[in-house]
Amino acid sequence: MRRMMKIKEQILIFGGLALFLFVATYAFWQEGEAKKIRRQVAKSAGEECIESREYMRENHMLVLDEWRHSAVREGDRIHVTPDGREFEKNMSTCLGCHTGKQFFCYNCHQYASVKPNCWGCHQAQ
């Protein structure tokens, strides 16, 4: 009887421990490659981006946020880049250079698991 109890306890404890190990090492069992998107994307656009590439990688959502605010709230719809080029503050401006959201925005976002809801209203053209 006591031995039975002991075995039942051990099953519980080591079952729990196995569950912990599974959760803690879950990522190690998953398939998948690092994307190194850095190298692939640049070729899809013509001129320089509106800011340096490093800056855009980290801050493009802040740029869009600023555009949205200044365009809609303050009526300032023209963005002037540091080197003097002018762009309309518009989602299509980005996509004009960056071919299609699937291959540009989506590619990164799927990897980083971000789902901006912009495309629910703005057209992906």
Binding site: F14, F20, R57, N117
Partner: protein, 331 residues
């Protein structure tokens, strides 16, 4: 106060080390690859060691700390959660404790009023902050799986959706970020404001709080303000979990601060009070059923004492006892 300041200084130093090392000494590989591997090894190895150690410790007696009516006569109502009498009820007791912190819900506060008057009142703040902190922590840890798994699993995306449901700010605002900051702040302030709490708080109570606070603050900074190249960070992590370590360029030093503090937490974890994560399931005062009046629990290492029952005694001396007119149980 020294008890609170030393851990604070320790955490600040720990945060400065990787910043300097990566920014000025180019030790990215050490802090991005070697230390994380060491940390996860120590965390898992240490955790398993502690649990196995507990599992091997004998628990000869029933020692649950109950606070309700134990199972008795049929017409006396048993408090099944507070004084469980079988495995199922004990399991329910442990699980409700784990998920809802029922014991903290009972927390009371003693106040001395004018004159010799002592009043006890219920105090739910600790319970609320504890619950808020732990649940946020869980959600945040699970959300971080998005950096470790190339094809982000559905449950992570659901969590992100729920956590970011307010749908404000870019990058998306997560509720748990604010909740965890508020909760930790409360947990620190609670120890500092009350004289009794200050007295019983040790550096080991403050250190994990400050450490987790620092991790959260740096993380929030990285996400919303200074920004970091998330794509490269994910590349680094995916490479790590597939044992093909390679350090992408251009990750800001702040990220290494975040990562290093997490590594410190992971290494510190198994050897500190944080092991209550495993310990809560294994504490005999909580997980045993209160059935020592129903079943006999014999200490397994009791020495084999030779005993003699009264019946045996009487068998031997019955005749003599009868002759001496002593009462006997069997004729």
């Amino acid at each position: 106060m020294k008890k609170a300041f030393m851990p604070l200084i320790a955490v600040v130093l720990l945060a400065v080390i990787p910043y300097v090392a990566v920014q000025f000494a180019g030790l990215g590989f050490l802090f991005g690859v070697i230390i994380p591997y060491a940390a996860i090894a120590v965390f898992i190895g240490g955790f398993v060691y502690r649990v196995v150690d507990w599992a091997r410790s004998p628990v000869p007696f029933r020692i649950p700390t109950t606070c309700g009516q134990e199972k008795s006569l049929d017409w006396i109502k048993q408090d099944k959660l507070e004084s469980p009498s079988n495995f199922r009820q004990a399991a329910a007791r442990v699980l409700t404790e784990v998920f809802f912190f029922r014991s903290l819900f009972r927390n009371t506060k003693a106040e001395a009023h004018n004159g010799p008057k002592l009043a006890y009142g219920s105090s739910k703040w600790l319970w609320l902050a504890g619950l808020a902190f732990h649940w946020s922590m869980l959600v945040i840890v699970l959300r971080h799986y998005r950096f470790f798994i190339a094809k982000v699993p559905g449950f992570v995306q659901i969590l992100e959706g729920v956590d970011g449901f307010l749908d404000v700010t870019l990058p998306a605002f997560y509720l748990t970020n604010v909740i965890i900051l508020a909760a930790i702040t409360f947990l620190v302030v609670r120890r500092l404001l009350d004289a009794k709490m200050r007295l019983i708080s040790l550096p080991t109570d403050y250190f994990p709080l400050f450490l987790i606070l620092a991790i959260a603050v740096v993380g929030i900074f990285m996400r919303y303000i200074t920004k970091v190249d998330v794509m490269s960070v994910k590349d680094l992590m995916i490479n790590l979990v597939h044992f093909k370590p390679a350090l992408p360029e251009g990750i800001g030093a702040l990220f290494y601060v975040h990562l290093f503090l997490v590594c410190v937490l992971a290494i510190y974890f198994p050897f500190s009070k944080l092991m209550h994560m495993g310990g809560i399931f294994l504490s005999p005062t909580r997980n045993l059923s209160n059935d020592s009046r129903e079943k006999r629990h014999v200490n397994p290492w009791n020495p084999d004492v030779k005993t003699r029952t009264y019946a045996e005694y009487e068998d031997e001396f019955r005749d003599k006892m009868k002759k001496a007119n002593l009462p006997v149980e069997r004729k």
